[in-house]
């Protein structure tokens, strides 16, 4: 598997987004970390692409405009103010958040910039009411040791988090605004990961390093990765918002294989001597012809007064059947565009004469479609139909044609959303580089050297170094990872100095603490001295391991009892050492 990926020229880089543990948001004084499920008011907005330098619109921006979405923001007065609504300019940047960002930048080996300039990074999907994210580079040119190689950190920025999507139905998308504006950092790595497994491990490695600060948020959604994948001859594709590192190997592998499949399709088109210039296609309205269709979606469309529209591509037979991801074919590439851009989001949203094997019976009579008088497909052609509101079907047909044309180039640059099963689906065209411009609402922020030095002095020890030291102490391998980011590091160092049995230390502070936590016993409040006393007693008295869980449970439950007492009561049947 790994060899296969190496042969494909697999390359992967990461953008790791980590929320910072601060009291307030980044550019206003709203509380950070407060989530809500209800709202008190709504604001409706639209996004309009701004002309770029050459007087043309960015592809991604234009795509978002084509969707013609109503964007509804749900406001909860406890979590948002007029800043998040884009009705008040930003307040001076949260200094607590900036300190944490500097800390992490130093920990990842970055050079800290002298003067941070806030930029606006455009997002037109509605996830930020302004239409841009405020972001600034804190550090560049970092490097993190990773096994026997290095992960280069090209840049580290501090930025405001976006909204949480609540629903996306046809032309209406709703967002909750509670998360909007919370401080996070983005760590961008180079494309140094050469296998899917390494990519997953790398993200875990960096994630642990960030956690060592104790200044980052934890829990679902606190860390999100944008994973960039490409193969030789393919293109950079971004899989957005991957919440857990465990998902990364399957996602990146499937993406590499998808790119390989798209390159194969390009080869097949070449073999058929098809080019963008000589490809023949024809589109038309099929509403009248298919008005008596037995297919439920088409029947519903007719009943709702919608239109059915078709397009025929000559000599393209079989291409839509070409597998791209496990259980998916090239047709799903078309369906993805139709879903997102034409807002026809009830699946299935296209039918075609190459046929999905999984079409339920009665969904459509493909023979009728093939022989449709207007489309008039022969065996070498492929016919595709879409249905929905008139304007949307026109958009859909255009997007299908655009995507077919892109097949001649191989792999389109896309942002894709990760699905649960390790697959991904189209989210949007990858935005171009030209979408950054200075934030005129916020002056540059000087980061003075003495501030950086002060943070440097208090920097936590990097997790990979702690791990190495604990391993040298003799802490068992299976508890190394968790102990290296625990609060017990100083205690373990002390016990090691006293010559205690490190296997025992690992068993008590690692395994037992973890297993009791799963049972609901929280041992956070036990002091270092009492842990040391217990471990010393266990070590000296050679207490059998079967008693350890009982001892720790009692240690937690009876903070007023002496360790000696606890040991006696739990292990009274043990004969004193001779």
């Amino acid at each position: 598997m790994t060899d296969e990926m190496k042969k494909l020229g697999f390359k992967c880089g990461m953008e790791i987004h980590q929320q910072l543990l601060t009291e307030k948001k980044l550019f206003c004084r709203c509380p950070a970390g407060l989530y809500s499920t209800d709202h008190h008011a709504e604001v409706l907005r639209h996004m309009r692409p701004t002309l770029s330098e050459m007087g043309v619109y960015d592809g991604c921006a234009l795509m978002e405009f084509k969707t013609k979405k109503d964007i509804l923001y749900l406001l909860n007065k406890k979590t948002v103010c007029t800043y998040e609504m884009d009705d008040t300019p930003p307040f001076p940047i949260n200094q607590q958040a900036l300190d944490v960002a500097i800390e992490i930048a130093l920990l990842t080996g970055c050079s800290i910039v002298d003067e941070m300039h806030i930029a606006r990074k455009q997002y037109l999907d509605g996830s930020i009411p302004t239409g841009f994210q405020r972001t600034g580079i804190v550090g560049i040119n970092g490097s993190i040791p990773f096994g026997n190689k290095k992960i280069e950190v090209t840049q580290l920025s501090i930025e405001e988090d976006s909204c949480r999507e609540r629903s996306d139905d046809k032309h209406l998308i709703k967002f909750r605004t509670d998360r909007l504006g919370m401080p996070l950092i983005e760590v961008v790595t180079d494309a140094c990961f050469k296998t899917p497994e390494e990519a997953g491990e790398g993200v875990r490695h960096i994630g642990r390093l960030l956690r060592a600060t104790g200044h980052v948020r934890r829990g679902l959604g606190a860390v999100r990765q944008d994973v960039n994948v490409s193969i030789e001859g393919g293109s950079r594709v971004e899989i957005k918002g991957v919440p857990r590192y465990q998902l990364i190997p399957a996602l990146t592998r499937n993406e590499a294989l998808r790119q390989k499949a798209l390159l194969d399709i390009r080869k097949e088109l070449k073999k058929r001597k098809l080019t963008k210039d000589n490809l023949k296609f024809f589109d038309c309205d099929l509403t009248d012809e298919l008005k008596n269709s037995a297919s439920p979606p088409l029947r519903d469309a007719i009943r709702n007064g919608h239109r059915i529209r078709g397009i025929k591509f000559e000599k393209l037979s079989g291409i839509l059947r070409h597998p791209t991801q496990p259980g998916k074919t090239f047709a799903s590439e078309l369906a993805g565009r139709v879903r997102v851009i034409a807002c026809l989001d009830e699946i299935p949203n296209i039918y075609h004469t190459d046929s999905y094997p999984e079409y339920p019976r009665n969904h459509i009579d493909l023979k009728t479609l093939r022989l449709s008088l207007k489309l008039n497909c022969d065996d070498s052609d492929v016919g595709i139909v879409v249905w929905g509101p008139d304007a949307d079907t026109v958009t859909a047909i255009n997007e299908i044609r655009n995507r077919i044309f892109e097949a001649f180039d191989g792999v389109p640059c896309e942002t894709r959303q990760s699905l649960r099963n390790g697959l991904s689906d189209f989210e949007r065209i990858l935005p171009g580089a030209d979408r950054m411009y200075p934030d005129t609402d916020h002056p540059p922020v000087r980061i003075a050297n003495d501030r950086v030095l002060k943070i440097k002095d208090a920097l936590p020890e990097p997790t990979y170094e702690v791990e190495k030291r604990l391993e040298e102490h003799g802490v068992p391998k299976d508890t190394l990872k968790s102990l290296a980011i625990s609060d017990y590091i100083a205690l373990i160092d002390k016990l090691h100095k006293e010559g205690r049995d490190m296997k025992l230390v690992g068993r008590i502070l690692g395994q037992t603490v973890r297993s009791l936590k799963r049972q609901g016993v929280e041992s956070d409040k036990v002091t270092g001295d009492r842990w040391a006393e217990l471990i010393t007693a266990c070590d000296e008295k050679k207490i059998p391991s079967k008693h350890i869980e009982g001892l720790v449970t009692n240690l937690v439950a009876y903070p007023e009892r002496s360790v000696e007492d606890i040991v006696l009561s739990v292990c009274e049947k043990i004969p004193a050492p001779s």
Binding site: R45, S52, D114, F132, I140
Partner: protein, 475 residues
Amino acid sequence: MELTSHPPHVKQPAMSEDIHQGYRDPGLAVLKKYDIAVWDRVEIETTKGLFTGLILPRSKTEDAEHIVIKMPSGYNTGVHVESITKIKRIGRREGHYSIPEKEFPYDKRKKNVTLLGTGGTIASRLDYTTGAVVPAFSPGELYGAVPELADICNLTTTKLFGVFSENMGPEQYVVLAKEIERLIREEDIDGIVIGHGTDTMHHTGSVLSYMIQNTPIPIVLVGSQRSSDRPSSDAARNLINAVYTAAHSDIAEIMVCMFGPTSDDYGLLHVGTRVRKMHSSYRSTFRTLSDVPIAMVWPDRYVPLREYKKRRKDKDVIVNPAYDDRVTILYYYPGMKPDVIDSLIDNGYRGIVIAGTGLGHVNSALNKSLKRAVDKGITVVMTVQTLWGYVHMNVYDVGRYLLELGVIPCENMLPEAAYMKLCWVLGQTQDQKEAKEMMLKTIAHEITEREPHNGYLVYQGGIPEVEKFLSTYKK
């Protein structure tokens, strides 16, 4: 928020001779030492590592110790001169400051609208290289940025001046009034739109209401609260609404057209003398006070909310661009000393608009100086700080004394509307009696005889019924 034609820290355009735009020593010395100019692509070696990017201009309001570059990632950063060990030029790229023009389509069946520019941007494009915002103004440029306009009308544009809202003043008001007169009398147009910064839009709305009377066509002031380089800007929508009003409405008044709610929904058409900017940054900042707006407007329709003057076919506009700028507004505060008024008298002011407390009051310590002012021929008028409601100077003794001194109560004229009117009146007469008559004779709703109960609405958040309303209404 004010409309700005480009970011304050980017000088524009780039054609100037100055190759070190905005840099001063010690930053300037470093650039000169390595023979580097703005727009050079450079590698900067520093004690912290290598920075690559394009040298950008430096804002004059920022310190002189940093060199600003745009890095390949699109981010800008400032490098402190003390950390620089070497700068090497590796290329050059100048900003481009033009907008490709597309010809604005002409359709003889469509209405003709003229857009007058006073400054600020209605539409713009971004120069990502330099971060500058390049304003779009000619019909061709506007068509590229807001193509919907071509569905509404044939558009011509005239840029009268390029000033920020706060720099609008007498000179500009006179030019504007004369140009509007010329357009109405000499051109075949169906409506006029005036692009304007929002801060003083209600001042201009007021003064034009006095200078231009009996207009046969709609005259619409429009601006934006979020600049047009932002994807969620209100600029395009406001412009579309304003152009629609100018082309298709039958409202022959001087109006301000801005967002109704903060949501992208309808715009409101406000009377120029009764409108006021009520929030420093909200999109829905403009409100008609002590009355209801003229109409609600969408890109394709409008719904009147009250009576208004109808569009006419004639060209009988009356324009009188008189103005005397020796007028001030005195915002009264407790303990105000008479020397404030004395200095106005001594400095030759001819008119004073007092924004008094409550029903139109100031403390009695000012009486002597106010009397001196009136005796010197200065016209002193009273308005209220409360903004809503009438001046009633007969209710308390303090008010009656002021009346006796010759202070003129201005009914429910807004302080800014009274200020602009007094400037206009004193531009025509220095006679106190005549000035008083003119001040109290209503021209364009600046005084209304009646205050409807829904003319005063400042909902109080937190009250259950208000919260309920807010939860069912797009803000």
